[in-house]
């Protein structure tokens, strides 16, 4: 490279570091995901854990819980304490609007052209009439939100979830979604418009705002579950499956009509 080429002023070192980190993180995610592929248990039972790396995953979960209680949860509580519901709602709207270009890319990659059209319309309407996404005018006008990510795109290309993975900081995942997350980070059109501090601010606000939405739910879940890790693992799976079905109701489980008219007896429950 020639030194004489005109160059843009160098961004602060911290931002260079973060920009590099972003790409390294994507690579690390892909490497971890490949490990997961290698460990695939291929369980057929719908109730099987499919969690060959459970010991490691549980250790990472412990770590995440510690980080959450020290950093993320207090930040989320502060966010809820300082900002009224109305303001938080507007912030969520803005963040969602910033996510629309990536939704568009993934809708297109899945061949969901009608949803892609709706996404494009939403972005155009909410960015302008909705003042940068502060007001979700598009929903009122009948353009529904159609979120998609690259994990879902991979699923639509026939790549299943594979075994469960608990990622440090990022939380519950699997090889499909870990790769998806890495690709989304690099492919997000907004990532190229919002660089440096703006991009960092977006990531942090997004993390805190999402955590804030689940403050009560997660606390209730933790206090009422007998195995919080297993509950989170299962919740994540079903949550993702619902996103992949675009919100349609899940396949109904087979629940036999157990007969309880007699006294408890072994032969009732032969399946």
């Amino acid at each position: 490279m020639s030194e004489s080429l005109p160059r843009r002023p160098a961004p602060p070192r911290a931002i260079c570091f973060l920009a590099a980190l972003r790409h390294h993180l994507a690579l690390v995610l892909i490497a971890v995901a490949l490990l997961g592929f290698a460990a695939d248990g291929r369980a057929q039972d719908p109730y099987a854990a499919n969690d060959p790396l459970e010991d490691v995953n549980r250790a990472v979960f412990e770590f995440n819980q510690a980080v959450d209680s020290i950093v993320l949860k207090p930040l989320a509580e502060l966010y809820v304490f300082v900002l009224p519901q109305e303001v938080r709602h507007r912030i969520t709207n803005v963040l969602r609007n910033l996510g629309e270009p990536l939704n568009l890319v993934n809708n297109l990659a899945q061949g969901k052209f009608e949803r892609a059209g709706s996404t494009l319309s939403r972005f155009a309407i909410n960015s302008t009439v909705g003042v940068g996404g502060v007001f979700d005018v598009a929903t009122d006008w009948g353009y529904e939100r159609t979120p998609e990510d690259f994990g879902q795109t991979l699923e639509s290309w026939g790549i299943g979830e594979q075994p469960f993975l608990m990622l440090p900081i990022l939380g519950p995942s699997n090889p499909r979604d870990a790769i998806g997350f890495g690709v989304d980070m690099v492919a997000d059109p907004m990532g190229y418009l919002l660089t440096g501090e703006a991009g960092l601010a977006r990531s942090i606000t997004s993390g805190v705002s999402q955590r804030a939405q689940y403050l009560d739910e997660l606390e209730t879940l933790e206090s009422t579950s007998v195995d919080f890790y297993a509950a989170m693992r299962e919740l994540y799976r079903q949550y993702r499956a619902t996103e992949i079905r675009d919100g349609a109701p899940p396949t109904v489980l087979e629940i036999p009509d157990f007969d309880f008219d007699e006294e408890f007896d072994d032969e009732w429950f032969e399946e």
């Binding site: 009122d140 009560d216 206090s223 009422t224 007998v226 509950a231 499956a241 629940i255 399946e271």
Partner: protein
């Protein structure tokens, strides 16, 4: 550089689209939900009434400690749910390896546990508006009643599907799916995980500990 030019084109395209859409977008306003199917009225009414009773049980006792709200909620839940079927299903194949005493003990604790789980969850939504919206006939013969909870605090409404089965005594709920997450399925996997590590007696003592644990008062 090309990137700069393409960004300008991108921005211009977006602006152009926006103006067009802003001009025409109003025409698409007012897409409404389908009205509930009339053939499934009784299942819909059952769930609406059950939901109203549950909301009332929690709201009427809003000044009382959680234990009292839970007791009122328990009556509603025990009458509307087929708890034996739920409990048996959630234990899965481990039911067969359990002794008779373990089964009896499990069924007794499971009621307390499941009431605690649902009461705390609904309690945390707080003064909500509950609406049963539509019914799907499932090929299993059960009905899926799709309901929605709108929280006074704002935020997205919560979608809840109740799986309802006709029993001798009338309709009973056998599964609740919140935002696509089946409570039965989740509990089954969670219980299996505890049994694998601690055995059935381990599960029983964990369930008892959860059901009897003091709980923070969400209404305050």
């Amino acid at each position: 550089m090309n990137i700069l030019i393409s960004r300008r084109i991108f921005a211009a395209t977006v602006m152009g689209m926006a103006v067009l859409l802003a001009a025409t977008g109003g025409l698409r306003a007012g897409t409404s939900d389908d009205p509930a199917s009339t053939s499934a009225d009784s299942a819909l009414t059952f769930i609406q009434s059950l939901g109203d009773q549950a909301v009332e049980a929690l709201r009427d006792n809003i000044e009382s400690p959680f234990e009292e709200r839970e007791a009122a909620f328990r009556k509603v839940m025990v009458s509307g749910f087929d708890i034996p079927i739920v409990g048996r299903f959630v234990l899965g194949r481990h039911w067969r390896t359990a002794t008779k005493e373990q089964r009896r003990e499990y069924m007794a604790i499971f009621v307390d546990f499941i009431v605690r789980v649902y009461a705390s969850r609904f309690d945390s939504y707080g003064g909500e508006l509950f609406t049963a919206r539509s019914v799907i006939d499932d090929e299993s013969g059960d009905k899926i009643v799709r309901a929605q909870i709108v929280r006074p605090s704002g935020g997205d409404p919560i979608g809840i599907d109740f799986r309802v089965r006709m029993r001798d005594e009338g309709y009973k709920v056998i599964d609740v799916t919140v935002e696509g997450i089946s409570m039965l399925h989740t509990h089954r996997v969670e219980f299996a995980s505890v049994i694998n590590r601690k055995g059935i007696d381990g599960l029983l003592s964990d369930l008892r500990a959860r059901a009897e644990a003091p709980i923070r008062n969400a209404a305050e």
